[in-house]
């Protein structure tokens, strides 16, 4: 939400429309997941495809909550199953209920995302009045 006085800054925010669109698609796929799985797949896949085409990166938390193969919004208990790996107990598994794709993650308490680090924020675009801010970060 750019302020009226700094119109120059609002133009500098590249990919504003695409970010809005991806945000909407992610929310839509999460909303529809319990009602219609096919639609949820389609929205999730589109969200991923837009980020590929426009070369705008998704946050890893968002990326991991969509199925890598079919794009279904993974809600544990409704559309996904969480389990420990049957052979290796240092891994946990997420299984998609639509396509059966399994993905493993390492359980490690010491691991941190680079994006959680305050040093990763390069600049903040937005106005201070409404308190809404958009962070531009380097991945």
């Amino acid at each position: 939400m750019p302020a009226p006085s700094n119109n120059k800054k609002s133009k500098a925010f590249a990919g504003r429309e695409s970010f809005h669109r991806m945000n909407y698609l992610y929310q839509a796929s999460m909303m529809v997941a319990s009602k219609n799985k096919h639609l949820s797949c389609f929205y999730g896949k589109l969200c991923n495809n837009i980020s590929k085409k426009t070369v705008l990166r998704l946050h890893p938390d968002i990326k991991r909550s969509l199925c890598k193969k079919c794009g279904l919004a993974l809600k544990p208990g409704i559309t996904a199953r969480l389990d420990l790996h049957p052979e290796n107990e240092t891994l946990f598994q997420v299984e998609c209920s639509q396509c059966g794709f399994k993905k493993n993650f390492v359980i490690n308490e010491e691991y941190n995302f680079w994006l959680d680090n305050p040093e990763s924020v390069v600049e903040v675009i937005g106005d201070g009045e409404t308190g809404k801010k958009k962070d531009v970060t380097v991945l």
């Binding site: 669109r21 698609l25 639609l39 389609f42 590929k52």
Partner: protein, 182 residues
């Protein structure tokens, strides 16, 4: 694949010439190589929506979500529409998302489709799939049809032929002036 068998046809018409005989092994090989193997990465159920069985009331929340999306795109400030330049407005419109919007067909080359309205569920390169209030899913061709779109108190006429791009590619493509329509 089925085996090719010999067929005898009594053609009394002298103008029709029928080629007889099996296809040679070289020809059959060509047909086999054209058949692609089943691609596991593409979900086969992606583009299929059953015609009946889904309810209109389920997707009213989706439409509410879309309204907020459209307002965030067009109104950068509350109460002020950024219509300062016409080309800018069109650029934003072409990069917007249409899945979740309410659409009505004003005119079309296909007469059975005219005056249907509903919430857009799926967008492909050539069609919109909408669910109307009688709980039925219909496909509308984009090309050769004109749609009515309402955002707040703005009524927009959208010519479908300008949207015949794949939905993922729409956000990159640079558009030229849309005003040159006759």
């Amino acid at each position: 694949m089925e085996k090719h068998t010999k067929v005898t046809i009594d053609s009394t018409n002298p103008h029709v010439t029928v080629l007889r005989g099996e296809k040679s092994k070289k020809q059959l090989k060509g047909i086999k190589s054209r058949k692609k193997p089943f691609n596991r990465n593409v979900n086969p159920a992606l583009f299929t929506l059953p015609r009946e069985g889904s309810k209109y009331s389920d997707f009213e929340d989706l439409h509410k979500l879309w309204k907020s999306h459209a307002k965030a795109q067009l109104w950068t400030l509350p109460g002020e529409l950024n219509i300062s330049s016409h080309s800018e407005f069109q650029r934003v419109l072409s990069k917007m998302e249409y899945q979740g919007s309410k659409i009505q067909v004003l005119s079309s080359k296909c007469p059975t489709v005219v005056n249907h309205s509903g919430i857009v569920l799926l967008e492909t390169r050539e069609t919109f799939k909408i669910i109307s209030e009688d709980n039925q899913i219909r496909t509308l061709p984009k090309r050769d049809s004109v749609f009515l779109l309402k955002i707040g108190n703005i009524h927009l006429k959208i010519f479908g032929k300008h949207l015949t791009i794949r939905p993922a590619e729409r956000s990159i493509k640079k558009i030229k002036n849309f005003m040159d329509i006759n």
